[in-house]
Subunit: 205 residues, 2 copies
């Protein structure tokens, strides 16, 4: 199996399967079928079988998938069988919400630092984190070896900050700023922009 050969669209669906399987496991369910998993995520059973079979033979004809086994495999494939340190840049409303979000730890992520360029905010606590000054971002992120950042700052300063993150060695950016970022090819960006998501639905209304 060559990681480069798996289409990006399949990788996009795996975390959705992982999340649904985790919910089943939390409810004490031990086995599932592509049919049942498909109904819970709104994707066809055939698509699910095809996606999962890209990585090996994880199901059995007749008995379906062992949930603990498939969970382990998906976590391994997505590399969330470990805990990734993540930084947050921007301690506004969204940065606060993310710093306090309880849903990261059991899905592979741990927020370790939060930065802001507002001197009045620097030193304030959010949960276990203390807001740090963005002027120290490159040095601190580099020396801690953090590879993942969440960007919750205004669009006007997002590209400049993304450049600093790249300089600091960050390889994955979850961007909440409503602007497309230009980054080197080896840096991944995912976008969360509620207005964009809403506009994808109004078309159909």
């Amino acid at each position: 199996m060559n990681a480069d050969k798996i289409p990006d669209i399949i990788i996009t669906r795996l975390p959705v399967y992982l999340r649904a399987l985790q919910h089943m496991a939390d409810n004490g369910i031990k086995n599932t079928s592509s049919q049942e998993l498909g109904e819970s995520v709104g994707i066809s059973a055939a698509q699910i079988r095809k996606d999962i079979s890209q990585f090996g033979e994880f199901g059995k004809q007749g008995t379906g998938y062992s949930i603990p086994y498939l969970l382990d495999k998906l976590r391994e494939i997505l590399k969330v069988d470990r805990l990734w340190d993540v930084i947050i840049v921007g301690a506004g409303d969204m940065g606060h919400a993310l710093a306090r979000y309880q849903g990261f730890a059991n899905r592979g992520f741990n927020a370790v630092m939060i930065f802001d360029n507002d001197k009045d905010k620097v030193g304030q606590k959010i949960g276990d984190l203390t807001i740090e000054d963005t002027v120290d971002l490159i040095e601190k992120v580099k020396s801690a070896g953090v590879k993942i950042a969440m960007l919750t700052i205004p669009a006007t300063v997002a590209q400049d900050t993304a450049d600093k993150l790249v300089q600091a060695g960050v390889k994955a950016i979850l961007n909440y700023a409503p602007i497309s970022l230009n980054v080197p090819e080896d840096v991944k960006v995912q976008y969360i922009d509620p207005a964009t998501h809403l506009q994808r639905m109004t078309y159909y209304l």
Copy 2:
């Protein structure tokens, strides 16, 4: 042009083009090319030309696209040439952040109500909104005719609340709860789940 015939994946990209064009317009730029637009959003010029041509001939060979004209057309296609009322269900950290978010109004959306089932929160103000009791949700949403909701509540109560939204006539749900929702075919759902987005990048690290 038949709306049903445009592939969903194209509709997914249009709000990204719209956002980039708006940034250009804000910077006083009047014309652009598929090449330039492509560079700003990380999508090929050929793809952009193909996507936009689904809806008509909006560009000119040699001179490219008039930004104000293309903005108007995209807003019309995505139906954000008007202001949509939106409700927020869940007045936690994320609900607060969305209620205070300044980026909706100029992109077609207006948060008009926020609900929570915590009696201690009901009556509190967030900006211009007063938190209302979720027990009144169906009646208030129905009588106001609101069609769009943002769901920022725990996964355990998300499906039940989504059912209530459907009952109230909501046709588009932006779901922040980390769980897949089952809704009727004529109801659209978009998902925002930071852990899912992060897991789409760790695969490549």
